[in-house]
Symmetry: C2
């Protein structure tokens, strides 16, 4: 039985809750405002959803003040779409403007909403500033020395915990990708070029309901592949290969991120054993994934199974957060001590080296509940799927 | 007759030419190195092509020294794929590393290759720095005051002019999207929800040969739509609507960016007239697009046709550069005085307001030749296509 898709968008109350949480955290550290520049940051508080971020030309700004509603300072090309969100204070300029691309308007807005206190810009791990550096320097000069600081990790803290409405969207993305993966045996046969399989797989994702397919990587080879981030080559799939496809599709602005391995013909002993190891590692990770544990604990649980506790691989981690972006905080590594909490959406992504220069990686998506964790992706079987 | 697809990738000589051009420009301004952090910048000198940039977690660095070959300073997860490019000096760390995410390694590398002179980071219009601000500050502190400066517009200057091999890839992307657009009448019929048309159109792009579909926006309504950047809604296409689809597909790392308008049923007088105006504007833009003209001249040529010379619209410009990214420099606006040169790939994108709150926009892709310009996208007919 297919569950109905969740509703698109969020009620305004969702954004008000996010804003209240943000303003509580801002009050704790004395920030007068947050200045946000990236797609996910702007969308988090506004619901502004467009693929137009693919164009690097124009900067977009959102000011989240310590009191009151967010103010959008954006190119006029976005005014109509931003006007459909709950945001009412929308200030625009005609971008691109080569002499002043919104910097004065942004500076005025910040001076208006920040009577006292500093302006926090996300500056830590996994963040970046999506505006030209010369404009950032000009903005800082205009505001006065020391007025701009980091956001004290507030955006990370907020986005680490997903609401039930967010989780429903991620589950929907997982369900769609799961249906596409189930149809892979129909498109991936020995002799088919990998690039053709990649194209057909993306079409399956769309046909099953993906809004778009921002991420697909994979590989194929005997007993595994060299990495997990490569695009397709024209090499034909060959009997004896292990084929891996790893996708992040988007549904209503939320990602899934999981992969599947397939054996072309009867799996080798090495590949079959690796798959079992990966399933054991996922089970160990799932078992460790409960409130109060730390990200490092989940790493060690999986790492004990895959490397005997050697401490990881070239991939650098075996899982991570997930949500509005393909990958988010935390990381399942030995040194990430983030405390696991209900509402976190995470991937379990163990990898094993099958032989020199070849790996197999498996990935599932889970959500942390009050007592443990449950799968959002349709959990893989213990046997490698043969195609 | 279908022309054969160009070869994938580039010969090493293409990268050496790019490097030589960069080093000549660096010598002119006395830069010891370029420090690059974004997907397009890194790929420009390396050919490193992966969709893994969708993950914001890990920073990636490329150091282009004043003499010698580029040095990649990257997460170990990318070592295998970077090893397939012409780059031989690849330095990796196990990312994510929460205490030192490549900053020390990058600092050492920069100190090694930069004996004298400053390090240029792209900082101007349409650029951003893809690394955490705290890491950038740490890097600058480690290198010493004033060691990091902007890139003097070098990356912009290099990427403005495309090689014939690059143009062939953009032409291929245009050809593929053109074939998909030709099939729109089969998927877009009155009663079909817009979101379903968007999904099917992306599938057509893939079926016709797109590697992936990073961009699709559009809209539908009587006599036009409210903007050109919106994602799909669930509203059904209705008789009398003008449907617009604007796509940027990728083929071997290069984009097309053009749109098509369709009339659902017989076009209104307003829509038919607007289409004619847009075709006239494209013709005027094409006529103005030749070496020695300026970006502003092409703007004015189109603007005279669409607004009678009023000076533009909310979209902010009526065309732009195109290549490794959906949009690149220059902009067709009144104040962009970039001199047009052979090898520039540009979009002509005039828009008209059809009635209060509604617009129609048309877009084609062209390449500047020695004497003028030619179309890369299959030029639209003078009559609005009826579906």
């Amino acid at each position: 039985m297919t569950e109905p898709a969740p509703p698109r968008g969020f009620p305004t109350s969702e954004y008000q809750t996010r804003l209240n949480r943000a303003q509580t955290l801002m009050a704790d550290v004395g920030l007068a405002a947050l200045l946000l520049t990236t797609e996910a940051e702007v969308r988090y508080f506004t619901g502004y959803l467009t693929r137009f971020w693919e164009s690097p030309t124009r900067p977009w700004y959102l000011v989240v003040p310590a009191c009151g509603d967010p103010v959008a300072v954006i190119p006029s090309i976005g005014a109509a779409l931003m006007g459909q969100t709950w945001i009412t204070d929308i200030r625009t300029w005609s971008a691109p403007d080569l002499s002043d691309d919104g910097v004065s308007l942004l500076g005025e807005t910040l001076r208006e909403v920040c009577k006292t206190g500093k302006i926090g810009v996300p500056s830590g791990h996994e963040s970046h500033l999506r505006m030209p550096l010369v404009d950032f320097d000009r903005l800082k000069d205009g505001l006065g020395a020391g007025q701009v600081t980091d956001d004290a990790g507030i955006m990370r803290r907020l986005r680490l915990i997903k609401s039930s409405a967010e989780i429903a969207k991620i589950r929907q993305a997982c369900t769609i990708a799961g249906r596409a993966f189930a149809r892979v045996p129909r498109i991936a046969t020995a002799g088919t070029p990998l690039e053709q399989i990649f194209r057909r797989f993306q079409m399956l994702c769309l046909e099953e309901g993906a809004d778009w397919v921002p991420y697909l990587a994979g590989g194929a080879g005997p007993d595994g592949y060299a990495d997990v981030i490569s695009p397709a080559t024209s090499a034909p799939l060959t009997n004896g290969d292990v084929l891996m496809l790893d996708t992040g599709i988007v549904w209503d602005g939320y990602f899934c991120d999981f992969d599947r391995n397939f054996s072309v013909g009867h799996p080798s002993t090495i590949a079959a054993h690796a798959h079992t190891q990966l399933m054991d590692a996922v089970a160990a990770g799932l078992d460790a994934a409960r409130p109060g544990q730390r990200a490092a604990d989940i790493f060690h649980a999986m790492d004990r199974t895959t490397t005997g506790g050697a401490g990881g691989s070239d991939a650098g981690r075996n899982g991570h957060g997930l949500g509005m972006q393909l990958t988010e905080w935390p990381s399942f590594i030995a040194h990430d001590h983030t405390v696991i909490e209900p509402g976190m959406v995470l991937t379990l992504e163990p990898g094993v080296e099958t032989r020199d220069g070849r790996i197999m990686v498996h990935e599932e998506d889970i959500v942390i509940t009050q007592t443990g964790a449950e799968f959002l992706s349709p959990r893989s079987g213990n046997t490698l799927t043969v195609i």
